[in-house]
Amino acid sequence: MRKKSGYRDKIYSFSKFIMTITTVFLTILTYIIDADLDDDIFSSWPHFTIAVIQYLKDNSFDSLCIVVALLFMSWVGLKFGDPWIWDKLQFILDQYKGKAFKSSDPRSDQHNRITLFKHRKFIGFRMCPTGTWKKPWNGHDITGGWLVPVLRSGHIAQKTSAVFAAPDDADRAEGIAGQAWSSQRVIIVDDLNPIGESTSIANKERYASKTNSSVAMVEQYTRPSRIAPRSIVAIPLEVDSQVWGVIVLDSRDPKGVNEDAVENYRLTAATISQLLERA
């Protein structure tokens, strides 16, 4: 999950700067490597400059290695995405959250959330929410495809470890998010039974079956005295003509979110998609 912090701005700006500098230096270096210092053109050049060129010529391999390493580092820095775009995406999610949920209770604001999940082939060494150290990925293939949270609305409840399996095999997709990903359709589930840490196993089973998850997932979610959402809408998100991930709207209100969140906010989804094209 992306955190609001100034360090990403600095990393991005620094990476951009390094990328520009090293690209220019690489161009100069390739010219220097081929240059003949006995040529008349260099006769009038200051001795110091000639000495630097000679040094670079003598150590051209090392210089090239340093340039390539710097280019790679700056590429990694830029891979995190432009923080400006992620700030705008955060703003859009917050605005969307303010309008998409149906609730007149001002306290319910913190019970409604919008989370942006990105589909990744490889989950890395992240723990699946249902997992134990013995079965860290809940029996799923580590490279089978996962939905990983990258952004969430609001300034509270930012922390989430919810990761859902979203493999090509639709039958093995987890959660409402996984179902939306595999079917490439909007999935709406509401009127779910209330679930907390002390809820009976039978009710947890009922909730799990309605949300395409397992009892272990429900228990893991509710373990730190959390209350599970009672209405969920998952919308597949397309970026660059490919399904990129899923937007999940969830509410503790059993009728907190419904199809209006899809019908009335298509342009919001389109704006998120267009910003992600440049992220």
């Binding site: 179902q179 395409n212 397309e238 019908e263």
Partner: protein
């Protein structure tokens, strides 16, 4: 071609209750698969009636899929979305329907029949449903 007209979402993308693995869920077509606008017109050069669709954040190279019977579909190479339906007026007019309006109406019905018959050609299931709903609604309106 006439101007773009917004496609009514309530006509094309109605929430449907479905049973997925024994569980009832409400499903809708993804907003990215539903055309936001359509326009139509007669191409006087080819004597084809063209229905064109516009989508949210999507533009790509297209290919034409021809099933004969006077109806062709222009599909996105990457996504498989339907960008155009091309109805050949010559085909319908040589079959005895000399009025353009009648041939367009028949063309839309033929397009709906074609899309239902060749479902496997339309790889994007959500978009397939949206276009089928659109054509179905258009043919009902024109009757």
């Amino acid at each position: 071609m006439n101007n773009w007209i917004n496609v009514s979402q309530s006509d094309v993308n109605k929430p449907l209750e479905k049973k997925v693995r024994g569980i009832n869920v409400v499903m809708m077509i993804s907003p990215f698969d539903v055309p936001v606008a359509s326009r139509y017109g007669l191409n006087s050069k080819t004597n084809e009636f063209v229905v064109e669709f516009k989508y949210l954040a999507s533009s790509e190279y297209t290919k034409v899929v021809d099933h004969a019977d006077g109806v062709k579909f222009e599909l996105g190479c990457k996504t498989g979305k339907v960008f155009k339906v091309l109805i050949d007026n010559n085909h319908f007019q040589t079959n005895g329907y000399d009025s353009v309006d009648v041939s367009i109406e028949l063309g839309l019905k033929e397009a709906l029949r074609e899309i239902n018959e060749h479902e496997s050609d339309f790889t994007r299931a959500g978009n397939f449903s949206a276009i089928r709903n659109y054509l179905s609604h258009q043919t009902q309106v024109s009757v």
